[in-house]
Amino acid sequence: MRLLGTPRFRRASWLVMASLVLVSLARATVDDGPPRTTEEQVQAIASTMKCPVCKSQSVADSDVAASRAIRLEIARLVEEGKSPDEVRSTIAAYGDGVQLIPPASGFAGLVWILPVVALVVALAALSAVFARWRRTPLIAATDEDRALVEQARGHR
């Protein structure tokens, strides 16, 4: 049991854990499910489009006639072999506002870029601040401190 507390055991533990986790994660990412059925594909595409009538529901979730009709159309296009992006651009008559995923280009692209910019700025600020703290010494006696000490000693 004493073995469990030693640094060597800990280091070995971490190595074993790291490899275990990496292998599993690799398997989880690569092996991400069999190709989907039409139903699932329609579901996936429909969940990226907004129901034109409802307040704040996707085509996948809502039951109104327009949504059901759009789902049928999506199914038809999927069976023709169209990719999700092609399906979305074919169903164009409802306007751009019906796409729940904002386009990556044009003004709307800002909504994707700004968070990334914010993240970069945050990381840069954090590392700059941490670096500055590491550079300056921890505690140093200032002249004021020395003066205080002299004062105290003088009073004695």
């Binding site: 009709a69 759009i70 008559a93």
Partner: protein, 219 residues
């Protein structure tokens, strides 16, 4: 420096630690890099951003009043063809050269009932003149109900039966009634959401005709 050995935050913090005098300058604490000026600059930047946000929010119309323009305007009308409720074949391609008014409706929809006599009058007028054609399309409706609707209220323009609402999707119909006006050259000129009146349709056609004759005479 003594590192507190316990992580219990409920313990009374060690107040015997001597704090630094607040006016030393060289190793500014945890505030943003650059000291107090940075705080002011950050505040100013945030103030500007918030002011812009408030300006945008203050000038928005309520979402219920936001009009949605159809992306079809100015484009060729989508394929509109099929079997009517009476069993005939009809297609707007056959009507090229004439105005086509495509009306999406359903028997259960109240504004559709309101606009029906207006459409009937429009159809009667223009059928006689031969310059415009009215075509109905069912949306979320059963064919027997559509037949009943017309039997009860009259009107004999062709009504395409669209059980899967695929023509509706092609036009971007969200809710009935919606009416689309297509010019003789096949482009969609206007989309009406809600019940239409004969006057609205006639005025639209008249205005468009005037503009095209003007441009023709000018060129």
């Amino acid at each position: 420096m003594v590192t507190p050995s316990s992580n219990d935050d409920d313990e009374v913090p060690d107040s015997s630690r001597v704090p630094r005098a607040a006016d030393t300058d060289d190793n500014g604490g945890d505030e943003p890099a650059g000291g107090p000026r940075a705080a002011l600059v950050t505040s100013a930047v945030i103030a500007v951003l918030v002011a812009l946000l408030v300006a945008v929010l203050a000038t928005r119309d309520p979402s219920t009043e936001r009009a949605i323009q159809s992306p079809l305007l100015g484009r060729l009308a989508p394929a509109t063809a099929g079997t009517t409720i009476d069993g005939e074949q009809v297609s707007i391609d056959d009507e090229r050269g004439r105005w086509v008014v495509v009306n999406f409706f359903a028997s259960w929809c109240t504004p559709c009932r309101t606009e029906h006599p207006e459409l009937a009058a429009f159809d009667a007028d223009h059928r006689a003149q031969g310059d415009a054609v009215l075509i109905g399309v069912t949306f979320d409706d059963k064919v027997e109900k559509a037949r009943e609707f017309f039997a009860k209220r009259g009107g004999d323009w062709p009504v395409i039966n669209d059980p899967e609402n695929s023509i509706g999707v092609a036009y971007g119909v969200a809710q009935v009634p919606e009416t689309f006006v297509i010019a003789p050259n096949g482009t969609v000129v206007q989309r009406f959401a809600g019940a239409v009146t004969q006057t609205k349709l006639d005025d639209l056609i008249a205005r468009y005709e005037e503009r095209t004759t003007d441009s023709r005479t000018r060129s």
